[in-house]
């Protein structure tokens, strides 16, 4: 904007270097005190492009004025920016401050906003230089090559001096290089990457560390890129690992999850799991889980029910039955399947030749949900939120017991085990493999059998249920054989 038309009587300021804050400050102070408006000044850096129409600025001093400290601090950063307009913008701000000392506090002012943004970019670049400089040890000297976006090398030197006072080091950049010999800081011309040669054996160590500290189960590439943009990668040894690490992450995670189950079959997986069960205390873990569940408040159902009705049965059961939720009698007894539906269930189990004492029986939802009708507590269906909240418990039961066969009795149980809504008639009768191992069979809930009014249909459906159970029994025997 400064160079649009010829400016015959423009003032020209030549600064000694790209980051010459003192030069800018001295010139700006003089010009502002002399009342020279921003449009009349051309700022250039020694060695930069000249402007034919400008004359060197020397001004008589006028009345002096003070500027807020915050502006000076900001100007020190902004001067390091690579934006060629920075000196002029800063001067424009100074010009505003001349008549309104508080102008800088108006953050909604576009000029203030622009300067803040420039300063922020410089601060970020400085921060990244502190972080991403990588020294290599070469003959007792530590040498780094770095490519900053802005003119920040001198600005950051102090940090490295304070941190590495007793080392001899060099930081080479395309524009400027700095050297520290333990006592004094010196400057040299820009350099190329090749002047910081590789061969530091520690780099291999560092890469080992980088690869090992990364958790493949938590891939978050976006977050990484935001903080470590690719433009910095060239000079960081560890970044060559990023791509292979990402490519392998999913495989590694899957391996972690189902290492044995997927590869050697369910039986081996079960054995392997049992052999590493902590201190052999599967029972203790289950008991603790059971106790924990007694205090559950994950959904509102606990408020009105008598108690949590947890699952029961041997922990090495090969079949786990999952019902819907406890009813009136279960709620009082604290045990699953003891009421009328439980009796139907017991009879069917017996006909199918499955001893109840050998299976694990539990419910998808562990608290009784009911409506009070007079003196009666009438069962009401759990909603999706309640099933979801309570799934935490059944998931835990299943991961402790790892049944080869899980039987979902009715739609609610199926929804809980399979984590989706299914139609019983469609999925009944054949196994559905489960992601975490084992398989799920879906059949009706015993209470459905209780509610069938027509006697013949009732007999027929009960027989179908028993047939399902027989098939499940055979399957479980086959899987654990």
């Amino acid at each position: 904007m400064l160079r649009e038309g010829p400016m015959i009587d423009a003032h020209r300021v030549t600064l000694a270097a790209q980051d010459d804050f003192e030069g800018w400050r001295d010139a700006a102070r003089d010009l502002a005190e002399a009342g020279v408006p921003p449009s009349a000044i051309i700022w250039r850096v020694d060695g930069g492009p000249d402007d034919l129409f400008a004359t060197d600025a020397t001004q008589p001093k006028g009345a002096s004025f003070a500027v807020p400290r915050a502006f000076i601090d900001l100007a020190k950063s902004v001067v390091c920016h690579s934006d060629p307009e920075r000196f002029a913008l800063l001067y424009a701000m100074l010009w505003k401050l001349r008549t309104n000392r508080n102008a800088f506090e108006d953050r909604a002012d576009p000029l203030v906003d622009r300067l803040e943004r420039l300063a922020k970019e410089v601060r970020r670049d400085v921060h990244k230089m502190h972080a991403f400089v990588r020294f290599r040890e070469i003959n007792d000297r530590f040498v780094a090559f770095f490519e900053p976006d802005h003119h920040i090398v001198r600005h950051t030197a102090g940090f490295f001096v304070r941190r590495f006072t007793n080392m001899r080091w060099s930081i080479l950049t395309p524009e400027l290089s700095i050297y520290w010999d333990g006592e004094a800081l010196t400057e040299g011309p820009g350099a190329a990457r090749a002047e910081a040669p590789g061969g530091d054996p520690l780099e291999a160590m560092w890469k080992t560390y980088y690869a090992s500290i990364f958790n493949p189960a938590r891939l978050k590439v976006g977050a990484m890129l935001k903080e470590m943009p690719k433009k910095y990668w060239r000079n960081m040894p560890e970044t060559s690992l990023v791509q292979p690490l990402i490519a392998n992450a999913r495989t590694r995670e899957l391996e972690m999850i189902d290492r044995a189950a997927a590869k050697t079959g369910l039986k081996h997986a079960l054995e392997a799991e049992r052999s590493i069960e902590p201190g052999g205390n599967l029972r203790a873990s289950w008991e603790a889980l059971f106790k924990e569940a007694r205090g559950c408040t994950r959904c509102d159902l606990y408020k009105h029910a008598t108690q949590t009705v947890f699952g029961e049965g041997p922990l090495d059961a090969s079949i786990m039955f999952v019902g819907e939720q406890p009813g009136d009698q279960e709620d009082l007894a604290g045990r699953p399947f003891v009421g009328p539906a439980g009796q139907v269930f017991d009879e069917a189990l017996e006909k199918a030749g499955i001893p109840r004492s050998q299976v694990y029986v539990t419910n998808a939802v562990k608290h009784f949900k009911f409506e009070q009708k007079g003196k009666k507590r009438v069962h009401s269906k759990p909603n999706a939120g309640e099933i979801e909240a309570c799934r935490w418990w059944i998931d835990q039961e299943r991961s402790l017991i790892r049944p080869p066969v899980t039987v979902a009795l009715g739609a609610t149980a199926a929804r809980s085990v399979l984590d989706k809504v299914v139609t019983i008639s469609k999925v009944r009768g054949s196994p559905i493999p489960l992601a975490e191992g084992g398989e799920c069979w879906v059949t009706v809930h015993p209470s459905f059998l209780l509610r069938i009014p027509e006697p013949e249909r009732r007999v027929e459906e009960r027989q179908k249920f028993v047939d399902d159970l027989k098939r499940i029994r055979d399957r479980a025997e086959k899987l654990t054989a």
């Binding site: 909604a108 080392m167 160590m205 470590m228 972690m256």
Partner: protein, 414 residues
């Protein structure tokens, strides 16, 4: 055990440390290596020297002294019954690695934790020895964070605090029952009493510093802790309540949350499914609400749903605002700071800018847009001289309007 070279040990013992979420290296006293013989500096703000593909920052050399352990905590990969390869550093090896990494500007310092070997005291002695050697033999002035062993001799724990910038003791799980189930050998009471000892030592250290400038600082970056999320039944509400109790009672600087993640050779007691990482993120956000935005723990809990869980699709501040719509719109030209801090989309910086600017002008929507990151997020909740969102806060679909769309970032696109 066959002898392992240093590099293999590093691979094993860094791998074993990666489940620990803490990485911060900030908030300690300022110091540098001028006038000394060694190296290192701290300038208040920690520096993240690299980022791993899991999005986490690498600021410290985070390793275990050993991954052998006499305990058998189900959630821990290093538990006795786990089938992982074991390794052990000598104190001297850790010292050397720390110094060499530091000299190359790879790290800010050391985070040292350990499995428990032989006895708690023996292990704690080794940990303290590493820190002692770094500070005394090598005049190391970088950052040191030590994980203390709760039932070690209090005197050893005290020494740790004298050398370290920060000490931490993990509470491990948000509920007592969870701890009993998953870490039967650990004792919740003991963990808390160790925290309270540490708090006392830090308080004392600060008192002494007030009296004599030369008094040695005791863990100037304070103490922190970590909780594993998703391995027991605690809801977000439970976790937030527990965390705020810990903050109050032990004056913790930070509570870290670590979403339980499937570990190789997982114990049968653990859930197979990992909790969504977003859950961890939401917990951190709720932490910020309390620490920087003046929310009371109970208010954050209110932002959770009936099941006690924070929504995953929107952040807790927005969730709170949508639930308590009667608190909006907030007039940016008049509202006190506390109220501005409640506006979704206004961070602490934006609020400061608004407060500074409005002394000089009446803010219009355009002005606010310049002071904030995203005006569209903020707009429904504020009023300016030229804007009032009367209808918007009543809209039933406000949540869908404001919930962020899922975004994928392609890393290796040209």
């Amino acid at each position: 055990m066959a002898q392992l070279d240093l590099q293999s040990k590093l691979a094993i013992l860094a791998d074993a440390a990666k489940y620990d979420a803490s990485c911060a290296s900030s908030g300690t006293s300022k110091r540098d290596s001028r006038g000394g013989k060694g190296l290192g500096s701290t300038e208040g703000m920690g520096i993240c020297h690299a980022y791993a593909p899991d999005g986490r920052c690498i600021s410290l050399l985070k390793i275990l002294l050993t991954n052998s352990c006499i305990f058998d905590c189900a959630y821990c990969i290093n538990r006795k019954s786990s089938n992982v390869r074991r390794a052990r550093f000598t104190a001297e090896e850790v010292v050397r690695l720390t110094l060499e990494f530091y000299k190359r500007n790879y790290i800010e310092g050391l985070f040292l934790s350990s499995g428990i070997i032989r006895s708690s005291n023996y292990t704690m002695e080794q940990i303290v020895e590493v820190a002692r050697s770094l500070r005394e033999d090598h005049d190391f002035r970088g950052y040191i964070h030590l994980k203390t062993i709760p039932d070690a001799d209090p005197e050893l724990v005290r020494q740790a605090g004298l050398y370290a910038d920060r000490v931490s003791i993990n509470v491990e799980l948000p509920t007592e029952d969870g701890l009993r189930r998953l870490a039967p050998e650990k004792d919740g009471g003991q963990i808390e009493s160790a925290m309270s000892d540490t708090r006392a030592a830090i308080d004392e250290g600060e008192e002494a510093k007030k009296k004599y400038k030369s008094a040695p600082g005791y863990a100037p970056a304070g103490q922190s802790t970590q909780m594993i999320v998703g391995a027991d039944a605690a809801s977000d509400g439970d976790i937030i309540t527990r965390a705020s109790g810990l903050y109050d009672r032990f004056r913790l600087r930070r509570v870290y949350y670590s979403a339980f993640s499937p570990i190789p050779d997982a114990s049968a007691v653990l859930p197979l499914k990992r909790p969504p990482l977003l859950r961890e993120h939401r917990l951190y956000q709720s932490d910020w609400l309390m620490r920087f935005y003046g929310f009371k723990p109970a208010e954050v809990v209110n932002a959770a749903g009936d099941d006690g869980m924070l929504p995953l699709d929107i952040d807790p501040k927005l969730a709170w605002a949508l639930k308590f719509r009667e608190s909006f719109p907030v007039d940016v030209n008049r509202a006190p700071k506390e109220q501005l801090l409640r506006v979704p989309g206004l961070g602490t910086k934006a609020v400061d800018r608004i407060l500074a600017s409005r002394r000089w002008r009446k803010l219009r929507l355009d002005d606010v847009a310049r002071l904030t990151v995203s005006i569209s997020k903020v707009r429904p909740f504020i009023a300016t001289i030229d804007w009032r969102p009367t209808l918007l806060t009543d809209r039933a679909d406000l949540r869908t309007l404001l919930a962020p769309r899922e975004q994928q970032l392609e890393l290796f696109a040209a």
